[in-house]
């Protein structure tokens, strides 16, 4: 029976005008058992076509088929350029069908800058003026693909004329053509579009209006201000769409014209951004869209998601935000991966406005992070990247690096490596951690990291925390040396990392006396040997320079250097190297042995890299010479820039001076929870009195330098990397830092109160803490590991757990606060017990406390230790919980069976005889019955594996209706049936929906 049906189908296809040969070819290719066989068939076809199309007097109908065959050959991945000219010729034909085929072929074959386009322009111009609207449509479709910037003027007048065509299909395509022109070259069509956008916008046909929205979206994203006055029109249109006032045919799965709604929502988001008045007008209609969208289908969720995007983009409205948050929760809790993905994205948008919202969903987020689905994981990492602050940077960067290790795709790897570096630079809690992190990044993505990062890292190691604390510096260096000696064991290190390693070992390898010079030299010799490759010359260069330094430090220290045989061999090898650079380095090293310690010490002083080389740009030693030349009549030298415009230069000078020394208005990085073991007071006291004491503290305990410290010129040379801690705010820093600032100053004495900070946001959408507790009660199976992770990521849940630690820390902090700042500060100090209430004060009321620098370092110690421990205590009552990792994906049994059957059919043997009907075309991502409840409902074409049997369109709907939920395949099939009965009779004219806008 099935076979009969297929034969019938084949016959039907055969009668549609294609020749038998072509059908045979398609069939043969479909049945080809190997790539080679397919290749052979296609090559034969190409040879045949090459001969046939150049024959004289090919019947036109025949030629049309040849061109279709050319398209087929091209689609299979072969070159059919020999026939392009025939396709171009066919566009000249008078017969509409042939013309259309010609246009279809050229749009598929040619790009907009192909040489042959010039031969089509004339035809297009003629066709755009045609009386037959189908010809106009065909030409407009070609225009959208083939016209480039240079040829726009040739067709623009005709296209504009067609905007007033009586057929809506032509108007619509003309609008799309204009849209394309605008994308290609906005300047060419700017005048036309601005004049016409209002007119076409109010077209009575919804399709034309919808096409127009594409153009308007582009215009508004370029310049929202000029279109703000249109906000009400869009709101009004959206309202009518939502109220089902468009013709039924635009409905999709019962949603009224959802594709138009989404375009409108996108436009509203642009118009409402930063405009309170415009936003006010939208609130009602946004609420309507949210309310009316059916959460049971994909399209409803698409609408809801778009609403969330709009709500979070425009001036905030607490009620709408609340519903947006509720919908986001629903997404995140859904079983469907698609919805979770949308939920994560929506969450990223909401936390921009209310950072505390993330906390409620921390477990959902962590589930997504550990999901085997790569797309979801990546999206979640993106969310975490947006949420990163100093309290959770270690966990997040660690996660990112773990993920980076699994990647093979260099594009993503570069991306994620640069994010790691950015976060590490911005939030690094300590230099030690920073170096470790950087090493990991280099190790796993070394070739993808910009060299500047390596230089910054070396500079950091060289300059450490600054002159104030040499001990810390040398400790840092020793730990760097240790870590690099460990890394060297690994095979295949990227050359950038080797550069850093060699440099550090050369400079500081022997500095602390743990390792002998011989040992370091041996390791350095190994480096050069162990890493042959393209960069071998560079790597050898790094190694020999490092050896030179180690040797010279030894000599300078008065010790005798015994070169181990390997090293001697290495030097000898380099002395005879093809690279002159390596040769020179080797000879320089040998030359050093001839000098005594004082000379060597002067040539290569220890830790010379950190010394600033002072260059007196006025070159005073030439003064004498200059004077003598001037006296001999030479012209005085005027610098080039002064020669050009002395006056403007002067003013610029002043400006640049001002900008580098003026106050900075961007917010400082969020202060962290400070605790315990404070600064060694001695350093503070022993130092220069002229510097403010708090600033001093920064220099001691901060790995960074504030460029504005009045200390010295040398700040210029300091590590940018860490300096960025004070730089521009992070993604969500605005709110985070301000609320943190508020916390800091309102309850200056409170300590380690991440939780208060988190739960006491401006207008916490949901009461977090009770919610969280109830969540926990509901799902006791959540693993302790995840809880820990959640705690360290979100920092929130831990708070209540350890009040004793907190209060003890608090008293110390109180002391330190008092020391650091004056009485004004102490006035603000509040009773620790009140801190929660204090924290929930509106964030904006108090400015960040700029003076209170000192606690930075300590805070980190606390944050890295606190959350885990606290949490453990907190969850004792839940008992030992089994770690519930995401379960392995459940296989989809019936569908897969069908698939394989189908494949074997198609691939081999009977091949094309198998046919698959659309009811059978079940989206493979449907869950099986047991796993998904909501998922089933949500996935657009809803059916279950029961439908695999392939219900016919009519009749069998009732059979499977038992297992359907929501708008389903069945209902769409019913619709099909209905519309089939109705036939394709055109409906009457559309209601003048948008007439009211014209007044």
């Amino acid at each position: 029976m099935e076979q009969l049906k297929n034969i019938g189908r084949e016959l039907a296809i055969g009668s549609q005008g294609s020749s038998k040969e072509f059908l045979e070819l398609v069939k043969a290719i479909g049945e080809a058992k190997s790539k080679a066989e397919e290749e052979r068939l296609v090559m034969e076809e190409i040879e045949m076509l090459k001969k046939k199309i150049v024959e004289p007097d090919v019947p036109r109908k025949r030629m049309k088929e040849y061109i279709v065959r050319l398209v087929y050959v091209e689609m299979l991945g072969h070159d059919a350029s020999f026939g392009y000219i025939q396709a171009v010729k066919m566009t000249h034909d008078d017969n509409l069908l042939l013309k259309r085929t010609g246009y279809l072929a050229v749009t598929l074959f040619l790009n907009e800058d192909h040489d042959l386009i010039i031969l089509i322009i004339n035809t297009i111009q003629k066709d755009l003026r045609s009386d037959n609207y189908l010809v106009c449509c065909a030409a407009l479709t070609a225009v959208c693909k083939l016209i480039n910037e240079e040829t726009i003027p040739a067709v623009l007048p005709q296209v504009v004329e067609l905007l007033g065509h009586q057929k809506e299909a032509v108007r619509k395509k003309a609008v799309m053509a204009l849209h394309r022109f605008h994308q290609r070259s906005p300047a060419t069509v700017a005048d036309v579009i601005s004049k016409l956008s209002m007119k076409i916008m109010h077209d009575v046909d919804p399709s034309v209006m919808s096409a127009c929205l594409c153009v308007l979206f582009d215009l508004i994203s370029a310049d929202a201000n000029s279109y703000r006055h249109l906000t009400n029109s869009y709101v009004c249109i959206l309202k009518q769409v939502v109220e089902h006032r468009l013709p039924k045919q635009y409905n999709y799965h019962n949603a009224p014209a959802p594709f138009i709604q989404i375009k409108l929502l996108k436009i509203l988001a642009l118009l409402g951004t930063g405009d309170k008045g415009a936003s006010n007008n939208m609130y009602n209609v946004l609420g309507d869209v949210l309310k009316k969208a059916e959460p049971s289908g994909n399209i409803g969720n698409a609408l809801i998601y778009e609403c969330i995007s709009t709500i979070t983009a425009i001036h905030p409205n607490s009620k709408l935000l609340e519903s947006a948050a509720a919908q986001t929760s629903r997404f995140l809790k859904s079983e469907s991966h698609n919805l979770k993905y949308m939920g994560i994205d929506a969450l990223g948008r909401i936390i921009k406005i209310n950072p505390d919202f993330a906390e409620e969903h921390q477990l959902a987020v962590i589930d997504c992070l550990e999901d085997p689905d790569d797309t979801l994981k990546r999206k979640t990492l993106e969310l975490l990247y947006k949420m990163t602050k100093s309290s959770n940077v270690e966990v997040i960067v660690d996660r990112m690096i773990c993920y980076m290790k699994t990647l093979t795709d260099s594009h993503y790897k570069t991306d994620i490596a640069s994010r790691c570096i950015e976060l590490a630079e911005r939030f690094a809690p300590s230099n030690q951690w920073f170096i470790q992190t950087m090493n990991q990044v280099f190790e796993h993505a070394g070739d993808l990291v910009p060299p500047k990062v390596a230089h910054d890292l070396m500079r950091l190691i060289a300059e450490g925390a600054g002159e104030e604390d040499e001990d810390a510096d040398s400790e840092l260096r020793s730990s760097a040396v240790e870590s690099y000696l460990q890394i060297l064991v690994e095979p295949k290190l990227p050359s950038l990392l080797l550069q850093v390693i060699c440099w550090v070992l050369g400079e500081y390898g022997t500095a602390d006396g743990t390792h002998s010079a011989a040992y370091i030299i041996e390791r350095l010799c190994d480096v050069a040997e162990a890493h042959p490759g393209d960069d071998v010359v560079k790597v050898k260069g790094y190694a020999i320079s490092a050896i030179t330094k180690v040797c010279s430090f030894e000599i300078a220290a008065g010790k005798k250097v015994h070169l181990i045989p390997e090293c001697q061999a290495f030097i000898d090898e380099l002395s005879a190297s093809h690279s002159t650079d390596l040769q020179q380095r080797a000879y320089e090293l040998q030359a050093l042995f001839a000098f005594d310690s004082s000379v060597v010490g002067a040539v290569l002083p220890f830790d010379g890299s950190a010394d600033d080389i002072e260059v007196d740009q006025s070159l005073p030693f030439l003064n004498h010479y200059v004077k003598s030349m001037l006296s001999k009549g030479a012209k005085p030298y005027i610098p080039a820039n002064e020669r050009q415009a002395a006056t403007t230069l002067a003013s610029q000078h002043v400006e640049s001076y001002v900008s580098s020394h003026s106050l900075r208005f961007d917010p400082y990085e969020k202060p962290q929870m400070p605790i315990m073991a404070l600064t060694p007071v001695t350093t503070l006291q022993s130092d220069d009195q002229s510097i403010d004491i708090s600033q001093k503290a920064t220099q001691v305990f901060q790995p960074s330098f504030d460029a504005d410290t009045p200390s010295s010129e040398a700040t210029r040379l300091r590590l940018e990397g860490v300096q960025r801690k004070w730089g521009r705010p992070s993604y969500n820093n605005n709110s985070a830092s301000s609320s943190a600032g508020a916390e800091r100053s309102t309850n200056g004495a409170s300590n380690g109160l991440d939780i208060e900070k988190a739960s006491g946001g401006k207008q916490g959408i949901v009461p977090q803490e009770p919610k969280y507790v109830s969540d926990r009660n509901k799902q006791p199976e959540i693993s302790a590991e995840k809880q820990k992770l959640a705690a360290s990521l979100f920092g929130g849940v831990t708070s209540k757990a350890d009040s004793s630690v907190r209060s003890s820390g608090r008293s110390q902090k109180q002391a330190s606060t008092n020391r650091h700042v004056g009485t004004a500060k102490r006035m603000q100090t509040v009773d620790p017990v009140d801190s929660r209430a204090q924290a929930s004060l509106p964030a904006a009321t108090a400015p960040p406390d700029l003076l209170d620098f000192g606690e930075e370092e300590v805070a980190i110690a606390a944050s890295s230790k606190d959350p885990m421990k606290d949490l453990e205590g907190l969850f004792d009552n839940t008992g030992s919980v089994p770690s519930s990792q995401p379960t392995a994906p459940v296989t989809n049994l019936p569908n897969i069976d069908l698939m394989s059957l189908y494949d074997s059919d198609l691939g081999l043997g009977s091949g094309l005889v198998s046919s698959i009907r659309v009811p059978d075309m079940i989206p493979e991502n449907l869950p099986n019955n047991d796993s998904g409840d909501r998922l089933t409902v949500l996935d657009g074409l809803v059916t279950t594996s029961g439908a695999v049997a392939g219900p016919k369109v009519q009749g069998e709907t009732s059979a499977s209706s038992a297992i359907k939920k929501g708008p389903s395949l069945e209902s769409s099939l019913e619709k099909h049936a209905r519309s089939r009965q109705v036939g394709v009779t055109p409906t009457g004219p559309h209601p003048d929906l948008f007439k009211d806008l014209l007044k």
Binding site: Q16, G17, V68, L76, L134, L376, P889, H976
Partner: protein, 142 residues
């Protein structure tokens, strides 16, 4: 904006490829190969979205055919997922119970339908009825 649309079967044979951005032929073949590799082995439970270079691919599987759309990173994924479905509904309507064979033998018609549905990388017509009517009118010309 839609960058390209691909219809591929499980073996990676291209059944339809439409590009809305200018690309070299070699680049097109590479894309087709990569997209197929990305989508073909994904667990059906996973998301229907895959990041692809600087864009994302929204795909949906119908029996042995993968419909993939490459869109901008800022686009609403679910909308494109549904537009794929709408396209399939239109094909189903046009071919009365479409099967892969219809698409294989009538690929030029599928291109014509697609041209009515999507133009210049944007959905131009979302009314199934309007598209079916337009196609019926063209059929009458033959």
């Amino acid at each position: 904006m839609i960058r390209f649309i691909l219809l591929q079967n499980r073996q990676g044979k291209t059944r339809l490829a439409k590009y809305y951005i200018p690309l070299e032929d070699s680049e097109k073949h590479k894309l087709e190969y990569e997209v197929h590799r990305l989508v073909v082995n994904r667990d059906p439970k996973f998301t229907n979205f895959v990041e692809f270079r600087t864009h994302k691919v929204i795909y949906r599987r119908y029996a042995g055919l993968f419909f993939s759309m490459c869109v901008d990173i800022t686009d609403n994924e679910l909308v494109y997922l549904e537009s794929i479905h709408l396209f399939v509904e239109i094909l189903d309507h046009f071919f009365s119970n479409v099967c892969e064979l219809d698409l294989v033998f009538n690929f030029h018609k599928v291109y014509l339908i697609l041209d009515e549905f999507i133009l210049a990388g944007e959905l131009q017509e979302t009314s199934k009825k309007a598209i079916i009517e337009r196609m019926a009118e063209l059929e009458r010309q033959e």
